[in-house]
């Protein structure tokens, strides 16, 4: 798909809000959907669901380990539970409960966590989940999704609720630019090609809201006579091997970007795929083996290189590495 006309919304949209509203949509369609949180009703936007369906909403208090295991019990019986917290606490604190009671049990609990990434801002390192993709993608039976904007969040929730497996969805705290529309296709496990110039020299692969930055970088590169290909990898597990390998074959080098640790994250999943199937040079953008800190989201995203400018720089570097 060649697409040079993607429109970025001027307005910022909240993935968290889109999630909260999608839950109401889901709750109306399916009586089985129950929602639980661990004392984070408004921050994770499940208060919308609570107001609409109070009899199907449960606050377990500040106890993320019980949150996961209680949801496992509900799913074991036949309910479709959605559990929410901040990503540092779920799946951070309750990882073993997720592993045993949800994944080994293979019950369809949907884990939706907000405040994933350095974009959390002022709360600082303790509240910025930079490891959750690694924690979740290592678990058998788990599906891992990182939506790239508010509309895609809505689609991801609806799709996740239709599956019979555990699903983890990570959402940012800050508001993001919207670029998909209700008509943009979404299928779990299928990467979306957002941009493909003529004879592209580099593939930019993004997970989460960084996709918008990848698009901006592609525009800059194109203005400078370098065409690229941009993939939105909203599903990190199962990773879309076919799309990744095809992009690598077409371009010969790759840049990955994610608001997460480089080690064990989305970029690692791309590297695992390509080193096995079609090795090419890869440049990784993400947090490089450090914790976050307090600051405005923009200041932090800049410090840690999660910018369109850095993508351009890394793209040029990747292209250079092809020649060696």
């Amino acid at each position: 798909m060649i697409n040079k006309t993607i429109k970025l919304s001027k307005k910022l949209n909240s993935c968290r809000d889109a999630f909260g509203k999608a839950l109401i949509e889901a709750g109306e369609k399916d009586q089985n959907v129950v929602v639980l949180t661990a004392d984070l009703e408004e921050s994770t936007r499940v208060h919308y669901f609570k107001n609409r369906f109070p009899e199907r909403f449960f606050d377990v208090g500040v106890s993320e380990q019980a949150l996961a295991a209680i949801a496992s019990g509900l799913a074991n019986y036949g309910k479709t539970p959605v559990i929410t917290s901040f990503a540092t606490f779920s799946p951070g604190r309750n990882w073993e409960q997720i592993r045993t009671t949800i994944c080994i049990n293979k019950v369809p609990v949907k884990i939706v966590s907000t405040h994933a990434g350095i974009n959390v801002g002022e709360d600082g390192a303790t509240h910025q989940a930079l490891e959750d993709i690694a924690l979740m993608r290592v678990l058998p039976n788990m599906v891992v999704i990182s939506p790239s904007d508010a509309e895609e969040t809505r689609k991801a929730i609806c799709a996740a609720l239709k599956t019979k497996t555990p699903v983890y969805i990570r959402l940012p705290r800050y508001e993001t630019k919207m670029y998909t529309t209700p008509r943009t296709p979404f299928e779990i496990g299928k990467a979306v090609c957002l941009w493909q110039g003529k004879d592209p020299k580099v593939a930019i692969m993004a997970a989460g809201p960084s996709a918008v930055k990848a698009l901006k970088a592609a525009q800059t590169l194109s203005k400078n006579g370098i065409e690229s290909l941009v993939l939105n990898n909203h599903t990190i597990k199962p990773i879309d091997q076919e799309a990744i390998v095809n992009a690598a074959k077409l371009t010969g080098c790759v840049v990955t970007i994610e608001d997460h640790q480089i080690k064990g994250g989305f970029g690692s999943a791309v590297a695992e795929t390509l080193s096995e199937l079609f090795p090419v040079p890869i440049e990784f953008i993400g947090i490089n083996d450090s914790f976050g800190e307090s600051g405005k989201p923009k200041e932090l995203l800049t410090k840690f290189g999660l910018t369109a400018e850095n993508i351009v720089e890394k793209a040029l570097k990747a292209i250079k590495r092809k020649m060696i």
């Binding site: 949180t37 661990a38 004392d39 984070l40 009703e41 408004e42 921050s43 606050d59 377990v60 208090g61 500040v62 106890s63 380990q65 019980a66 540092t88 606490f89 951070g92 604190r93 002022e122 709360d123 600082g124 390192a125 303790t126 509240h127 800190e293 307090s294 600051g295 405005k296 200041e299 932090l300 410090k303």
Partner: protein, 254 residues
Amino acid sequence: MISKAGSGHPAGSLGMVEVFVTLYFDILNHDPKNPDWPMRDRLILSNGHICPVLYACLAHSGYFSPKQLSSLRKFGSPLQGHPERTKLSGVEITSGPLGSGLAQAAGIALAAKMDGMRFRVFAITSDGEHNEGSHWEAIMFASKYRLTNLTQIIDRNKIQLSGNTEDIMPIEPFVEKYKSFNWHVIEINGHDFDEIKDAISQARNEYQAPTAIIANTIPGKGVSFMENRYEWHGKAPNKIETKKALKELVSHDK
């Protein structure tokens, strides 16, 4: 501080002012010029979101300049949104994620006992974090090993993030719970300096069990529109609200 930061947690911070002031200026055996002094009493803040009150006490004790207080939560500041041990002198542990502070305090108290060190360990915790199972694991550990050098001071302000504690996750009967876990329990008015001091000296003289001081407090104390309202758990006041709050707080001082 919180107003300038644009985010943060005013209710719990204001409610614990008297407890922190008593500890830092009357009780703790510490040396701000020598923060790593091995014999210092340890103040372990578990509910790290109320760090504004910790930072204010650290600054006014001399750990750093009070001028720095306005850099709370800002890019590059050592005053992180939640306290970090490696970034600011005087901060004993990194906290924010709830339910892990008492266990760390118990670990320090145990090590002190092993080595015959005579300093005391004070763990500040909150009612909301009693929802965490790990907190109760630490409670059992501390009584098993009779950590009498450990004193826990609990901010019983009856609110947590999403509502009142008894609506989100009821913890009453609270005193009885601690008693049945073999702790020495004292219930006080957390705004009364004499009661705070008296309870801490009772804890010092207890040789059978760790002590839990349940400090009944008013969240948002001193600011009429914040008092007892969970909505102020984690919200910064705007400019007008800040003016009003500061005016009220100053007038109490007189």
